[in-house]
């Protein structure tokens, strides 16, 4: 970035300078490129390679070429469906909770803005695992679950071990990742636009739909993706709050890699997970971008 900026500076550019700047750019990009290559591209390539291999004699991976691993994935798509359902509903819930919260902090909280942000961050000071265990107490038979059960006269009622319990944990765990990007975009919003909209006779809903939402959209997209991706692969929360009754992709991967020690079968599931996420995110981005484009046209 800095390099581009200085190139635009009104100085006489000589050929030598170009070369030097090219070198500088390359040098500055090197760490990031290496980072991506070694920590993203290479592992991904290994996963793909392994997914076509065979299981080694003592576990792990043995070279080979077979499509059986993928056939097995198609035979047991249940964990994909469970994870996808959880991640999509979790993202929507995060949005429903996070948007008003971010909006409030950004526009109405006034002096207490900083306080609210700190309150959102504080839970991160404690280990994720401990916070999840804490939900065991909150939702458990001696907590909310038991209370509701007693109230409605159904002693067998419980929250833990259900998809709802898992969803609660997911929304709790990932909500800040939704709120922060939304907050950042809403905080920079020009409030006079809202006033102008009202002056021109738009109601609350119309103002929200035509002014606030489009402005918040970049944050909304970032937040949704930040929340959706980890939810899709989440292992700890379903395992603890789901009592093992909610069988997700995370559980399926652990079963293959660690219990069955069948890396190729696990790799095929991992590849499947990546593909599902790519498809969902592509559709999502296409959908939101299309929305933006049609609006631009209508404005013109």
């Amino acid at each position: 970035m800095a390099v581009t900026a200085s190139a635009e500076a009104p100085r006489p550019t000589t050929r030598r300078r170009d070369v030097r700047q090219g070198l500088l750019t390359a040098l500055l990009l090197l760490p990031a490129s290496l980072w991506y290559l070694i920590l993203l591209v290479l592992p991904l390539a290994i996963v793909l390679l392994f997914s076509f291999g065979e299981r080694g004699k003592t576990g792990g991976y043995a070279p080979g070429f077979t499509l059986d691993n993928y056939a097995a994935v198609l035979e047991h798509p249940d964990p994909f469906i469970t994870s996808l359902t959880l991640a999509i509903s979790g993202t929507i819930l995060c949005l429903l909770v996070g948007l008003p919260l971010a909006y409030y902090i950004a526009t109405r909280a006034g002096d207490r803005k900083g306080l609210f942000i700190i309150l959102l961050v504080i839970p991160f000071w404690t280990s994720f695992l401990i916070r999840t265990y804490a939900w065991l107490m909150i939702l458990g038979p001696e907590g909310l679950g038991g209370f509701i059960g007693d109230t409605i006269g159904q002693p067998s009622f419980r929250i833990l071990g259900t998809e709802f319990g898992v969803l609660t944990g997911l929304v709790y765990g990932y909500l800040p990742l939704m709120v922060f990007p939304l907050y950042v975009t809403l905080e920079r919003m020009d409030r006079t636009l809202v006033e102008a909209s009202k002056d021109l006779g738009a109601g609350r809903w119309a103002t929200f739909r035509q002014i606030t939402l489009p402005i918040a959209l970049p944050g909304l997209i970032t937040g949704s993706i930040l929340v959706f991706i980890p939810m899709m692969g989440e292992y700890v929360i379903p395992e603890i709050l789901g009592y093992g009754q909610v069988y997700t992709m995370g559980s399926a991967l652990v079963l293959r890699f660690l219990e069955a020690r069948n890396w190729p079968a696990g790799a095929a599931y991992a590849a499947g997970l990546i593909i599902v996420m790519l498809v969902v995110i592509t559709v999502y981005l296409w959908f939101t971008n299309r929305g933006r484009r049609t609006r631009d046209v209508s404005v013109i």
Partner: protein, 415 residues
Amino acid sequence: MDNNEIERVIQRMSRTPLSRRGFLYASTMSAAAAFLAACSGSSTNSAAPSTAASAAAPSAAAPSAAASAGASAAAAEASYAPEGSLFMYNWADYVDLDNIEAFKAKYGISEFTYDTYASNEEMVTKLQGGATGLYDVGAPTAEFLPSLVDQEFIQKLDFSRIPNAALINPQFQHFYDPASPQGKYNDYHLPKDWGTTGIALRRKDVPDEVNTWKQFFEVAPKYSGRIVVVKSAGDVLTAPLKALGYSLNSVDPKELNEARELLRGLAPHVLALDSDTYDQKLRTEEAVLGLTWTGGVVDMREEEETKDTEYIVPEDGTLYWMDTWVIFTDPPHPEASYAFLNFIQQPDVQAKETETNRYATANDEAKKLVDPAILNDPTVFVPDAAFANLEGAHDVSTDPLRVEIWEEFVSSVGG
């Protein structure tokens, strides 16, 4: 969980050894303890056990003084030239701290490093990642011996250098049938502790007689939604296979498919698959019947509110696991390694291990020295009626049909 309860858990954990399989829970709770301690200043009496490196702190034991102490010990003693250091790679909190100090003093070990793993898989993965030559001794579970030997991660033991090995009950030293091709693996290990998988129940909620796996499956529907099961394929498959009278290591498709039917019947009644906090669920009576290990259950019986807890070793046979000492390939300190293996099997040392860890020793002489209360505790030593039907767990966890049945079970528990 209010503050008192947290303190109670912390105290319980600092008082008694952790289930080595309950590591995740343990480390979470001790982290919680540390967190609380940090918040509240001093109210928790800093009772939190350090799960990992408690033994790692190098104490300033003078090597010269210790070398002379070594000569005074008489018993079954080979001569060693210990290198002054020992690098152990083991389950967390799995060796008595006093025993470690005694060993350090006796052999002039100034640097005793205790690294931990949370699962056998983790240990194997680390070795595969090039950790050979880093560690001296470890205690994997016996079913991992073939894999460790075949990958040349551990070395054949020279038993002439471990005279105390003669005190080990042959049943445990011969974990693998000596007549079978797998018999060769018996030369690579020295049994450490063993324990069982069994049935835990709250007697006040479960009046039925549940002494066998067969009865466990029969009564299960009565306690629908109140059954907890450890999340471990080998342990869970043990129940139906033994109820049907087969080997728990069976890979026979006919036998496995019969077992599958029993598991299909059990799955809808299961409340939770939980290897880390199953005792917590039994404690709150959220679950009243369980297919579990012994960890945690020991403590429950000692507490007033939960002393109706019982642990039953099923008479129709069950799985016993065994953790066993090995010396890794190319150990940095081979002499200290042999010295340690012989030292730890000294009857008095070994009896202390059992009393601390609450897992049964394989050492017959040491057993005589163990506190009778622990000796008669079915969670530690198995009653005679069930002993004959115990079967060691072998590494069959990767058999495709077993994996398939396990996944079907895992994905269908609950409603």
